[in-house]
């Protein structure tokens, strides 16, 4: 399958060759590649949503309720006569926006805390890591759920809530990387030539931490998308924004007779997650120097 | 009396890009009770050679041709089935590895790790095996052996761990002991002690020893014969007295003088130029020629064979012709 994608895709251009020019285990490489193709295709769908759909999202009675999939309504219609295909495409958009923006929040908080704890050590580290560990152990999903439940079910709150519950993992990861990299002799060498702390953090440590952090961040985007969908499935969502999870929530009541209401949104959600997992997992393997040696 | 006969052994590693000829057509004999050193730098193929005897090579290595015969039965270890070979590993051939920290199982008590081998080869109960393993440790002058046996590797010092490793290797009175850089991970004072133990042990058990090392100093004190390896080849083979007194191959000469010793004055450090060749693409002709001060035209074209020119001395160099 990879071969076909590889041959047909426009992507096998300079960019990828640059990225993979070093010898890599073929398997990790092809997984990263497949993942990248899936993720880019989905992103394209999300960006071009208005061009590839025919009905406005969320609009009711664009067709008969409970229409089975046909040429006009590719994925059928739901209980209120909304076009499922349109809502799925816009739902992808929502998923990606939530994934990216909440992880951005998490990355900012996580990096700040991780860097402070990992570089400066001492009491500050103890304090920050205690907090991080405590937050990490809490059920992220339930925490996000009560935050949204308490502060109100709107899109913004959902993004913030997911961002707030996602940072501890990133903070831990960055701290761990800092701890191990700062013990490496080249950091000592940098100190010996008189480099300032800021320079050591940003030009010596951070670039070396990236290979471990990037795949993790990608997997974190995945987790964020799943949290959003899960919240939607429990009915915690902004009713004014199309959401794959919310669609599955509605579908639950009609599982006996309108299977398509559940199948298509869930399928799309699964594909996003598979793509991101492929990409993230592949990158973990690809960028892990210890595995690469084999 | 011959114990082991390696003839024309070729071992390759396949990496993602290419094939690496780690051991290239090597022949070597080891007699009963004899201590033979294989000396070389990293990438010389010395460890590969040692590991190919009990076939403990990593997955990507392949014995391409040649044979390794164990006397007196003349069984060819390269052709033996895994099952047959398992009787020999740990039974007739014991192994000691470089870093006792990583080569011992971190979640098993050291006594059990020794006993495991005894149970497997000697068909005795675990209880007996435990008793034997404590005796072994005592033989290796481990103080409080009873207590040490019930500890985990991380609770022991480097020297103690290496003694545990040696106990495992000799637990079934092997005919051949293969030690791969057994003291590199240890401090000088501890190294001296462990070597002393090892030396006495092989004398007492009449075990043959193959000592793989990069340190010619260690060899001088423990071995009877030396094989010097360079880039997958044996370049010189001699008994130690003549080797140290009168090294023949330019590489051996270089190696003997490459590091300062406490005996000599500062000026004697001899400098070998260049660095170790890349084995995926070794130099043609004599592999040492790019670094050799006596290199002449023939060396670049033709590979010198290992020629016997005097009793037990073999040298692979066109200068000897």
């Amino acid at each position: 399958m990879n071969k076909i994608i590889g041959k047909n895709s426009l992507l096998k251009s300079n960019f990828l060759q640059l990225l993979f020019k070093k010898i890599t285990p073929a398997k990790a490489n092809s997984r990263v590649f497949t993942g990248l193709v899936v993720v880019l295709a989905i992103t394209m769908m999300a960006i071009t949503a208005p061009l590839i759909t025919w009905y406005p999202p969320l609009k009711t009675l664009v067709g008969e309720p409970f229409t089975t999939p046909n040429n006009y309504y590719l994925f059928g219609t739901d209980d209120l006569g909304r076009d499922i295909y349109t809502n799925v495409v816009y739902g992808i958009r929502t998923s990606l926006i939530v994934g990216l923006s909440s992880v951005l929040i998490a990355v900012i908080i996580g990096t700040l805390i991780g860097v402070l704890a990992g570089y400066y050590r001492g009491l500050l580290e103890d304090f920050l890591m205690r907090i991080t560990d405590m937050t990490l152990i809490l059920p992220q999903f339930l925490l996000a759920l009560i935050i949204v439940a308490i502060f109100g079910q709107n899109f913004q709150n959902i993004i913030i809530a997911i961002g707030i519950v996602s940072w501890p993992g990133i903070a831990r990861m960055i701290r761990a990387e800092f701890l191990s990299i700062r013990e490496r002799p080249f950091i000592e060498a940098a100190k010996a030539i008189g480099l300032s702390d800021i320079k050591i953090i940003f030009s010596e440590i951070l670039p070396n931490a990236m290979p471990s952090v990037i795949p993790y961040v990608i997997l974190q985007i995945n987790a964020a998308i799943l949290i959003e969908a899960g919240l939607g499935f429990l009915g915690i969502a902004d009713p004014n924004v199309p959401s794959l999870g919310l669609m599955l929530n509605t579908a639950q009541q009609y599982l006996m007779n309108a299977w398509w209401m559940a199948v298509f949104p869930g399928l799309m959600l699964s594909i996003i997650v598979i793509g991101l997992n492929l990409l993230g997992d592949g990158l973990v393997e690809y960028l892990n120097p210890r595995l690469r040696k084999r | 009396m011959k114990l082991l006969e390696i003839s024309n052994l070729v071992v390759y590693y396949s990496t993602l890009q290419s094939l690496v000829k780690a051991v290239d057509n090597i022949s070597l004999e080891v007699n009963r009770g004899e201590a033979v050193a294989i000396v070389g730098e990293s990438g010389s193929g010395k460890t590969t050679l040692a590991l190919s005897i009990p076939r403990l090579l990593p997955d990507n290595a392949r014995i391409l041709s040649g044979s390794i015969q164990l006397h007196p039965e003349k069984i060819d270890l390269t052709k033996l089935s895994e099952k047959e070979l398992r009787k020999i590993r740990g039974g007739r051939i014991g192994m000691i590895f470089q870093d006792p920290m990583t080569y011992l199982n971190p979640v098993m008590k050291v006594g059990d790790q020794i006993a495991e081998s005894i149970v497997h080869h000697q068909n005795c109960s675990l209880k007996e095996a435990r008793k034997k393993s404590i005796e072994l440790l005592e033989k290796l002058k481990v103080p409080d052996a009873d207590n040490v046996a019930s500890r985990y590797p991380h609770q022991l010092s480097g020297g103690m761990k290496q003694r545990v490793m040696i106990s495992i290797a000799i637990s079934c009175n092997p005919e051949l002991l293969i030690a791969d850089e057994p003291t590199t991970a240890l401090d000088v004072t501890v190294q001296a002690e462990v070597l002393e133990l090892l030396k006495n042990l092989i004398r007492e058990l009449k075990t043959a020893l193959i000592l793989v090392t990069h340190d010619l100093g260690i060899v001088a004190e423990t071995c009877d014969r030396v094989a010097i390896m360079y880039a997958g080849k044996i370049v010189e083979l001699a008994d130690i007295y003549s080797l140290y007194k009168d090294p023949k191959h330019p590489y051996t000469i270089g190696l003997l003088n490459a590091v300062p010793t406490i005996k000599e004055s500062q000026s004697r450090i001899h400098i070998m130029t260049g660095s170790i060749p890349d084995l995926t693409n070794p130099p043609p002709g004599c592999r040492f020629h790019p670094r050799c001060p006596y290199m002449f035209e023939k060396c670049m074209r033709e590979e010198p064979p290992l020629i016997n020119f005097n009793k037990n001395r073999y040298v692979a160099c066109w200068l000897m012709e």
Binding site: - | T189, Q191, L256, M272
Partner: protein, 328 residues
């Protein structure tokens, strides 16, 4: 007052606290460097020898103030470097440089040779980028990486072990330091390459014509013999003997030094087998709970009652200092 000492270390101590559990007793320390004093003249050479855990690397880091001491002082050109503020220290950095044990690990894997060297030069000089380029080329040439153009664009992993160590050396000497500390400069290298690096280091020293002070740290006293006039022997954080290298090797005074020297393998079978080795048992004890009194007493063949309780101070024997009651 003009002093001819380049480096003066006085009662230097570094204790690392040991983190213990909730139910542990009083706070314990690893005394990695325990009350060490020495001087090195301007242009002098000092070897620090010791086994793993002797604190020799910690001592080197302290002398460069890469870590802060528990107490004590280091005078570099009559200035106590521990009293300098961040800014002053950074200005002093080019004067004192270090070469590390593992050249691969001490180079940033994501930087090219060119960038590694340019970083140092940019930080401490105001040279233009052309001048920097020129300097880099001449530096590489100087450490034997020629033609230098060949190495500019390479990453550390694209170099051999010896070449990497040459890059490290060129970084260390880029700003003409007056103190160069080499921490096990050859132990990570292949035997046949070691000679080249030792020679390079000696050449650099000789070329400086008495401007540069050398400190070489190693577990291998033979290496130190080939490079340093004086030697300091360390055991478990303490200095046990200090004196001229050749004299120490010829007639070691401290029992530990004796043991150490007799343990070194000699690549000559005849003398190796004749040699009488001083029997020693046991291993260096744990740094967390070192034995009381003289740290070496449990392994010492000449142990006396006193050694078990009292810590010997330094006794002068000829021109040497030794910390052993045998010389009281």
């Amino acid at each position: 007052m003009e002093s001819h000492f380049s480096l003066k270390v006085i009662n230097l101590k570094k204790y690392f606290p040991v983190s213990r559990g909730f139910f542990a007793g009083p706070q314990k320390y690893v005394k990695a460097v325990d009350n060490i004093s020495f001087v090195v003249e301007k242009g002098g050479t000092l070897g620090i020898v010791g086994e793993s855990g002797s604190g020799k690397t910690t001592l080197a880091r302290l002398v460069l103030r890469l870590i802060e001491p528990t107490s004590g002082s280091v005078y570099f050109d009559n200035k106590n470097i521990f009293e300098l503020n961040k800014h002053e220290l950074r200005r002093l950095r080019p004067q004192m440089q270090m070469i590390f044990q593992d050249p691969m690990a001490s180079l940033n894997p994501r930087k090219k040779v060119k960038q590694i060297l340019a970083q140092v030069l940019k930080l401490h000089t105001s040279l233009s980028s052309e001048e920097i380029h020129e300097r880099i080329l001449s530096l590489l040439e100087k450490v034997g990486l020629s033609p230098p153009e060949l190495f500019l664009e390479r990453y550390p992993h694209e170099l051999s072990g010896g070449q990497r160590q040459r890059v490290c050396i060129s970084r260390a000497i880029a700003l003409n330091p007056r103190l160069l500390i080499a921490d096990e400069p050859v132990s990570a290298l292949d035997v046949s390459v070691r000679g080249q690096i030792i020679k390079l280091l000696l050449d650099i020293y000789n070329e400086s014509r008495g401007d540069m002070t050398y400190i070489v740290i190693s577990h291998d006293i033979a290496l130190i013999k080939s490079m340093c006039k004086n030697t300091l022997v360390m055991y478990l954080g303490r200095m046990v003997e200090l004196g001229e290298t050749d004299r120490i090797i010829e007639s070691p005074l401290h029992p530990y030094t004796k043991v150490l020297i007799s343990a070194i393998p000699i690549p000559d079978p005849e003398s190796a087998r004749e040699r009488k080795r001083i029997p020693i048992t046991g291993e260096p004890p744990s740094l967390i709970d070192p034995p009381p009194g003289c740290h070496f007493h449990p392994r010492c063949p000449y142990v006396m009652d006193k050694c078990r309780t009292e810590t010997p101070s330094y006794f002068q024997v000829d021109d040497r200092l030794v910390s052993c009651f045998l010389y009281e």
